[in-house]
């Protein structure tokens, strides 16, 4: 049975490109996809010494807004995320778990001193949502450079990889609620 996927915009209004994101994720995940509101209070997740939000705490708060126990939820946040040890993360997921969180903070061209480009932002956000959802469906990083599950610790590598699963990762998803 197809597992429902919820895309939740945290900390701010639903962006103008929300439909484009749903459409991009739906190209790869034919599961039922819904956009929902998740009134998560990010305040307690903020760490003043780093001026960033703790990704693990954001994810834990987000999961309290999951509509049902069988679905997967992906929170999209505009703030910068980190986990201890690392300077930042684009996102974090629970491996084979119910949820994931994606930050658009470092996906924006403006962060790198370039003019704003919504097209580029949406393309990156689609890849990161699919990537984190892949983890939530139990996939680990893939060595194939074009696979969306390829590890991408820099935004350049997000741009280089494709937005779809390679044959191997797609076959691994079968029987895991990916329909």
């Amino acid at each position: 049975m197809a597992v429902p996927i919820h895309l939740a915009y945290v900390d701010g209004p639903t962006p103008t490109w929300a439909d484009a994101l749903v459409s991009g994720v739906a190209d790869v995940f034919p599961n039922p996809i819904r956009t929902i509101a998740a009134p998560v209070d990010l305040g307690p997740c903020f760490v003043p010494s780093r001026q960033q939000h703790h990704a693990t705490l954001v994810l834990a708060a987000l999961l309290r807004h999951r509509p049902d126990s069988t679905s997967k939820i992906v929170g999209i946040v505009p703030v910068d995320l980190f986990i201890p040890v690392l300077t930042f993360v684009f996102g974090q997921a629970q491996l084979d778990g119910p949820g994931a969180v994606v930050s658009t903070y470092r996906l924006r061209s403006e962060f790198y001193g370039l003019p704003a480009d919504e097209g580029v932002l949406v393309e990156r956000a689609i890849k990161e949502c699919i990537h984190e959802l892949g983890h939530a469906f139990g996939l680990v990083h893939c060595d194939f450079y074009d696979c969306v599950m390829h590890a991408s610790p820099t935004v350049d590598e997000v741009d280089v990889k494709g937005s779809e699963f390679c044959g191997h990762c797609a076959s691994m998803l079968e029987g895991r609620g990916w329909e």
Binding site: R50, A55, T56, F82, I83, P84, V85, L86, T87, F88, V89, Q92, A93, Q94, L95, H135, V140, H141, D143, A151, P153, T154
Partner: protein
């Protein structure tokens, strides 16, 4: 990917759990430990491909844990993670063999690259071990058959000297297998992963030998169109085998002495000194002491090369080896020629044992090869052996001229080969044109 294992040692739960998640997403099997004691207990469940180790922990600090981990697994790849970077601790950790040292928080790209490099380095080290084992397997020298106590003693000496770096002189008559002994020494030495470079000093004119050994620069002499490395340079790390050392000229003896003293030399036409770390193994069929007495061989060079001496006994002094060697050569040539010959008849055995084998093992091998060519049955017979006729004529060896002996031998081989000139030329080791000339000279008919 899923077989890779990582151990995360850090006293902060948030660090352990976030790194655990991060590495799980990367496909690692992750174990965590909150302190040094827990890390050492986790090592029992090892080995781990990578160990990420926090430097500042309560109780046992990271440096102490690193030392203990190294005792358990000397090959462990350890990456030090710390929030408090200091040059002293970094240097100490690296001196103790840590792969790298990073300060928290680390950029995800840097951590990815670091882990990837650590895995690549570990894979290369493991591959290196596997390749060395493979090279050891492939560089096994041809087996030396040793049934007689004399040859067993030779093999014992080979084992003894192989482990050292001493120069060796192998003495023995022509055909006793001196080069085989040299190859066995090299194959059992720590230099076996580097080449054994063999040079026959007796068969090369002095000027050519000089270029052969030392190499030359472009234009060093007429015809030197390219720079060429010499054998001494090529033997760097390995062994240099100089056959027929007793035949080298006085000038070459001086040059060799200089190289042996400094392990440095210059190519012909160059002023630049080149170092080469090689072990010298020499061989000779001559009596070097006598040559020294006659002042035909430098005494200082003699002492330099004659650190360890191995005498390979002639075949006639070790008859126990004749039949095992014969069987070895029969099997070798049966495989090469695709012939069903398996053994030697009792009469042929008696002939082989009675022969004095002046050409030693080389002569025996040639005799067996020839007999395999002409032999028809499953066992080699007396008539197939070239030594049978010689044994019969052994009482009167000086009564006949060389030409007469050659004529008889050519006639006999040609007869044995059924008049087939190509086959006979092959057995005699000459080309067909030469054989035709000999047939004409001796008025022999096919």
């Amino acid at each position: 990917m899923s077989d890779r294992r990582i151990l995360i040692v850090d006293d902060e739960l948030s660090v352990r759990s976030s790194l655990e998640e991060w590495f799980k997403e990367d496909g690692f099997k992750v174990e965590t430990a909150e302190d040094g004691q827990a890390a050492l207990r986790a090592m029992d469940r090892g080995p781990f491909d990578i160990i990420l180790l926090d430097l500042k922990m309560p109780g046992m600090d990271g440096i102490t844990v690193q030392k203990c981990v190294r005792e358990i697994d000397p090959q462990a790849t350890i990456i030090i993670l710390t929030a408090y970077a200091s040059v002293e601790t970094a240097v100490e950790a690296l001196k103790l063999g840590a792969f790298d040292y990073v300060t928290k928080p680390v950029d995800p790209d840097d951590l990815s690259n670091l882990v990837r490099n650590a895995l690549r380095t570990r894979a290369l080290a493991e591959e290196n071990v596997r390749l060395k084992e493979k090279v050891s397997e492939l560089t096994q020298a041809a087996p030396i058959l040793a049934v007689s106590p004399m040859m067993e003693h030779v093999l014992e000496m080979v084992r003894t000297v192989a482990e050292t770096d001493s120069n060796v002189v192998i003495r023995g008559e022509s055909g006793t297998g001196k080069e085989l002994v040299a190859r066995a020494i090299h194959a059992q030495s720590r230099r076996r992963y580097f080449p054994l470079i063999a040079v026959n000093s007796g068969s090369i004119p002095e000027t050519l030998l000089e270029s052969e050994l030392f190499g030359h620069e472009k234009g060093a002499y007429t015809g030197a169109q390219y720079r060429r490395k010499g054998k001494i340079e090529l033997a760097d790390g390995g062994s240099l085998f100089l056959d027929e050392i007793g035949d080298v000229t006085p000038k070459m003896q001086i040059d060799l002495l200089r190289v042996l003293e400094t392990h440095r030399f210059t190519r012909l036409g160059s002023n630049q000194e080149i170092a080469s770390d090689f072990r010298l193994i020499c061989a000779t069929h001559k009596n070097l002491e006598k040559l020294v007495e006659e002042e035909r061989f430098r005494e200082d060079l003699f002492y330099r090369i004659n650190v360890f001496s191995i005498q390979v006994p002639p075949l006639r002094e070790r008859p126990e080896d004749i039949l095992p060697l014969t069987q070895f050569f029969i099997e070798k040539y049966a495989r090469a020629m695709g012939k069903p010959v398996r053994t030697v008849s009792a009469d042929a055995e008696a002939v082989l044992l009675a022969h004095r084998w002046p050409g030693n093992v080389r002569e025996l091998e040639n005799a067996v090869e020839r007999a395999m060519v002409v032999g028809k049955g499953p066992a080699l017979e007396v008539r197939d052996l070239p030594v049978a006729a010689q044994n019969g004529a052994a009482d009167e060896p000086q009564a006949r001229s060389l030409a007469a002996l050659e004529k008889d031998h050519v006639a006999r081989v040609l007869r044995d080969c059924g008049g087939n000139v190509t086959q006979a030329a092959k057995v005699l080791g000459i080309d067909r044109a030469t054989l035709y000339n000999k047939l004409k000279r001796y008025r022999l008919r096919r």
